[in-house]
Symmetry: C2
């Protein structure tokens, strides 16, 4: 089952070539472009690689294309990290210098940067507010019976939610409750700010325990409801590739990528890993069976709070994409940190 040096070399050449051209690679073409063996030898090796499951033939008299197994091997062992040109890193850096109006804006900009530079489709998950610490909560009266709850965390992320308020709580009391909650739960993780803690606490809060309880429940719930938790960019980039010259394929892809719930779940799952590469049928999503997803996580104060990634055809340029993700990860870390000068 071990592949000897020559097989590896040939396989790598095939993958590299196929990533570039998207058309089956033949033995002759290979031997002419810098391979030191004759086409016949390569042909024999290709036959072997096919029986081993690394290559496939669209039809009898065509060249070979890499299988998912080949891509997996390529990603895990064979590829050498691409080197971004100075120009590219500068370009990338530029995206992060421009818009610094809050975490959300930066992440949106990140998605745009990723999709524009890779020419694939980019997804960025908004940070998971649960792991962050509460810095400020403010209730703003809207109408009788309704108020806007604004939560700000130490990561500089904010979240708005409309909540119901008992009629007998006036603006002044809302303000006092805001201050009380802020004081009590300052620097607690959002996920631990549960209703249990409320009862322990005396004063104004316990008098309004029911309200505060429902308020906190509402805050947690609203996070998962909010469909804006994923920023998508460059979905139409995929239409450039011959894989999607068929409109119906393009349609299924676009439909899948717009299922923000699924995308969020996917990224969330990936956020515990520094990097992930998911190839073709390894993907859970129906619509990504012919795609690969590459993700990277980002952290704030050392805690991973989210992830971002790129989706492309299985023959995507993994080396390049990974380099770009790594670069973005660094940039993003720096920028997000800059929102936290106080720490």
């Amino acid at each position: 089952m071990e592949l000897d040096q020559r097989k590896l070399q040939i396989l790598r050449a095939i993958v590299d070539e196929y990533i570039l051209s998207a058309s089956p690679v033949g033995s002759k073409a290979l031997s002419q472009s810098g391979m030191k063996w004759s086409s016949a030898t390569i042909r024999n090796e290709m036959a072997d690689l096919e029986t081993l499951g690394y290559l496939a033939q669209p039809h009898t008299s065509a060249g070979r294309i890499p299988s998912e197994k080949a891509y997996r091997l390529y990603v895990d062992q064979m590829m050498q990290r691409a080197h971004l040109s100075d120009e590219e890193s500068k370009l990338l850096y530029g995206y992060f210098r421009e818009h610094v109006h809050g975490v959300d804006a930066v992440l949106r900009e990140t998605a745009k940067a990723l999709s524009e530079i890779t020419h694939y489709t980019a997804l960025v998950m908004m940070p998971d507010i649960g792991v962050n610490r509460l810095r400020h909560l403010q209730l703003i009266p809207l109408t009788t019976g309704k108020a806007l709850a604004v939560v700000v965390t130490d990561a500089g992320v904010s979240q708005n939610t409309v909540i119901d308020v008992p009629e007998d709580i006036g603006p002044e009391e809302l303000d006092r409750i805001s201050k009380a909650i802020t004081a009590r739960f300052h620097d607690c993780r959002m996920s631990t700010v549960s209703s249990k803690l409320v009862r322990e606490f005396g004063g104004e809060l316990s008098a309004r325990a029911d309200f505060v309880e429902s308020l906190l429940a509402r805050l947690c719930e609203s996070q998962s409801r909010d469909r804006r938790m994923v920023e998508l960019s460059g979905a139409t980039n995929m239409l450039e590739y011959p894989e999607y010259s068929d409109v119906s394929k393009a349609r299924t892809f676009l439909a899948t990528v717009e299922q923000k719930d699924d995308m969020y779940r996917m990224l969330k799952k990936a956020s515990s890993m520094e990097f992930t590469v998911t190839i073709g049928s390894e993907n859970e999503q129906e619509g990504f069976q012919d795609c690969s997803v590459v993700t990277a996580s980002y952290r704030v104060n050392g805690t991973p709070v989210g992830s971002f990634g790129v989706i492309g055809p299985t023959r995507m340029d993994y080396a390049r994409v990974l380099s770009i993700l790594k670069n973005v990860q660094t940039n993003l870390g720096t920028v997000l940190q800059s929102f936290l000068k106080e720490e």
Copy 2:
């Protein structure tokens, strides 16, 4: 230049048929389906209609397709408003019953409803905050030097902006300034809350005049910057139609529709009109030369604050779309009003 009754009737039949089938309509097919004239007569009339510019022929031996001029006539004079089935109005009504967590959510839901029911692409403009009246402004400290400004208007719309704060203003003072501004400018139109008014006002505000001024400037500026002002839904619906079976056409369409700035401008312009129908080349956008855009405005307290619309191929079912928009306009009006019980 006047079209007699028969010409009108024939033209209408052609438009109706072409909207359904998307393929050129021939004289024979027409005369067989309920027309009381022979194919020859119809043929002559069609030739006339062509010289008058209402019809076009893709090639010599094909049927006729309506020109933009024909659609214009159709929309302005000939079409009869479609009647939504009870089922459909109920379905539509359902969208508005479900999500009532704030104005933004409702409008997002509106976009989804529109695209799903029409099978075209829907756009909804978030309400223009400028014409609304300030109800509450709250500054929330983020880090030293930065704060989050949350603006709430009488329409229940909120807007978050990260602003810079001089280092010597502490959390308590931010709170006091918030209250002072809220008190001073309560019920003023956002667009009139300009820096000029600030100077007139004494007390805490004038002491921090520079800060308040820059704050207000920042708020105005940020509205136009914010790219989330347009909610898009069902962009991929267009790929269902034969007009977009060509991937490159699909690409240009999708690219255009994702230019949120342009879309916002388009809707903004349309928001002063109850309804608009823009056919083919009447559109300013490059990518909409083969599309039609139908919009309706929505109002809060009688003031038009935004608009929403549907984009489809020029042969879209105008009658149906207009009925749906009218229905949605009513529903939306009711729901938005319900956020304003106080008035």
